[in-house]
Amino acid sequence: MKEGNIFFKFAVPKEVRFAARSWDPAADIYDASDGWLIKIELPGISRDDFEISIKDKKLYLSGVRRDKTSCREGLVPRQVEITYSRFEKTFFFPDEIEESKVEYQDGFLYIYVKRH
């Protein structure tokens, strides 16, 4: 039995926060006449590193943002604050969706989703 501030055991968190299982890049969704536009903030993602799949009313996006900089010999990291991590995101739509087109511009990933 630990002595001391037993009353505060529950009260003081050990400086830990809870967060999503992995990184959760921010996304905007726009309604368009015949479908939707999803815009995701994903600078620095390489095109081999993510995957999109569509099933019925769901669009599932998963991938990983890798750090291509710190693995160069001769560059030694001093501070790293940018998140390099896996991520997963599922988008739900009111209707079944099908076609899609993907664009990448200025660090944003655009996914066009058409209503079925």
């Binding site: 055991k9 830990v16 999109i52 900089t69 790293v80 896996r86 899609s100 087109k101 993907v102």
Partner: protein, 875 residues
Amino acid sequence: MNKQTDFELFAQGKEANFVCKEESREENADSNYEDDPEEEHEDFVAEIRRLLNSDDESEKSKNQQKEAISAGKRLELPVLPLRKTVIFPEAIVPLVVGRKKSKAAVEEAIGTEEKLLVGVTVKSEEDDGESDASTSDVYQVGILINIKKFLRSEDNIQLIVQGIERVRIIEWVQEEPFLKATVEVLPLPHVREPEQVEALKRNINDLIRQAFDLIPNMPPELRMNILSTADPLRLSYFLGSVLDFGKEQEQKMLEAETLDDLLMIVHAAIAREIEILQIRMKIASDTQSEIEKSQREYFLRQQLKQIKKELGEDEESIEKAEVGELRKKLETADLPEEVRLEAERELKRMEKLPNISPDYHVIRTYLEYILELPWNKLTEDKLDLEETRRILDEDHYGLEDVKERILEFLAVVKLRPDSKSPILCFVGPPGVGKTSLGMSIARALGRKFERISLGGMRDEAELRGHRRTYVGSMPGRIIQALRKCGVKNPVLILDEIDKLGMDFRGDPASALLEILDPAQNHSFRDNYINLPFDLSKVFFIATANQLSPIPMPLRDRMEIIQLSGYSEAEKLNIAKKYLIPRQIKENGLSVEQIEITEDAIRFVISSYTREAGVRQLERTIAKLVRKIAFRVARGEVSEKQIIDIQKAKELLGSPVFYSEEARKELPVGVATGMAWTEAGGEILFVEAALLPGGNGLMLTGHLGEVMKESAQAARSYLWSHAKDFGIDPELIKTNGVHLHVPAGAIPKDGPSAGVTMATALASIYTGKKVRSDTAMTGEITLSGQVLPIGGVKEKVLAAHRAGIKRVILPKKNESELENIPEDVRRGLEFVFVERIDDVIKAAFQENITQKDIQQESGKTDGVFAEVPSEFVAEK
């Protein structure tokens, strides 16, 4: 149809619409808005660019993980030994890394593309703060972590990492210059026995609630976070992260392969924490000589036992001592025969078990519970009706008829002491004194008092307990309450009986029915206790805000006593005679030190509260008094403090509400209605707009079916009698109309807004404004009748509060006016109506009907027969 979509093309590696151009790095370098390097730095910049663009990536990046990280996958990663801490999946943890090998492991990980490594906790407690841990020092199960932040400083590295998945070390790959191992990703803990998981989950929730009670100063965000996490797995990991269960327990949690095991560890750990907290609190308050001797002894013994255990003293003797102690208690306890037999049987079973067996503890807890239940303990009733009256008056202002009815019931109890206690049910808006009346009754009868909140209870087991087969099962709330008050005849308040839920876990209402049934409740069987307990001596009092959600059979079993809201004058009196003196006393002041003027109280009522009851008012007064008490305590003031309007404003900040809620002028198409709500009543504005070229009626504002129908009836009536109202029927025919009842906490299922909608429509069709000082309520029929509605008192009080001067009510509600306090009645002009025509006439500034309808007489054409009574109901 060509299924080959662009993204599929893209996935196949064709360029498609991918606008991330490779050349932006090299050929198009200037378009990437970088300035040309200055002359003397050219070499330096060029060198870095060369590094960035070179093809020969280091060895580290080769170790790239292509597929998803899922159970069974093997990875070869650097290992970071963790001291004193266990990281759980999803937890974000700051770490400071100072040891040589650990730093090297982190350096390795940060140089990779994905920044992954494995954290494993060091077993031993010893820590010289310097030497590196070796492969044999750490546990085999650890956690895959991702580095979220990395900051190198002079002699250490600061990290923020996040746990991702549990892993097991399969093989060590190297020990120098840092630890490295092949690990296998472990699956999520699975459910072994769903019932067990469910029971544990509920018990953990109960325990958490208990813990919250014991720790009043717990940060509210943390509280919210815990309460809102429904998934037991995440909740367990979260609790493991924020609470300090000790390294060993936490490692066991991380290693748990089934959710059952995980929850059991969490349950035991929290239960232990609570026990410790409770013992401490009891012992702390010992000096105030509040605990009886036996209870004290019990807690001291618990502590002693704990200490002995810590000292490693002989388990067996403790065990014997425990059994002996229970036996002694059993011998002296006053128990019904059936209970004694059962208890003896259990005690014999317990004797045969070793104390490491979980059953041993289950039985011990059970026996302790049984011995503490008040099987035969009663308090003596003092049933002096005059004294009761005095106490009711002492605690509550007004409420004459309510007090009368309470006294009538108690008189019956007095006359026939053996008759079943009546079950009272107070129904009314929040803060009108339902719970506190219950407390007064207990005080008047000289009975103990306990409160059970039924709000949101969905599970029968919460009332009735869980069967004793599961570790950590507990009795239901009824038995818990009885144990707490220690007698079998307390006043039990069942708060919020109208908020009882119901779902697949069983119907608590039916359990309650049995509990309240005098024919059955003398042998109430809690699942945990599993012996009949006599509830017939309990005085049950239920409270509710609304009558309608209470299931009919329950309602039948109770004596319903309605309380409605207070008028401003009543509130003033309650404040003056009850709330203020109480607050003054509670804050250690005296009437020589503080006075709140009547004007100030009125001002507080109208500008800082908007309620049917007096709870906000009480809180606001408490705030005022506290502020003064604070100043007095600090010696800032010595003379008597008179709080007038000015001073109140100064102390409370700018007013929250403005009593001028009624609008000065209404635009065309808007009419003021009155609605009954759980909170007592509100005024609302119904808005109508023409839709040129459209047709039909459009309705918005979450209206129920009944309300939609009355809107249609209103429109049709106006249409068919357009001429009478000076409306051009063409206008109705060629234009659509939109009716909107602003959303809010107002139930819109009743028909009582019928007249308001008709008035709003008449306004939009005639282009004339509705009187802004007038509010109305009433149901309408297609033939133009105005039918009576419910909740008149609440509605009128609300209109009065809102600054309305005239109220239009159905003629048939006229008799209810006598329930409305004098001051309100005097402050309002009432217009009683029988037909829509009367409403319209009264509602408009000018008389817009062509026919001369006599307002006061309420004469009808006599064409329509009396309204059948089944139509005359709203609530």
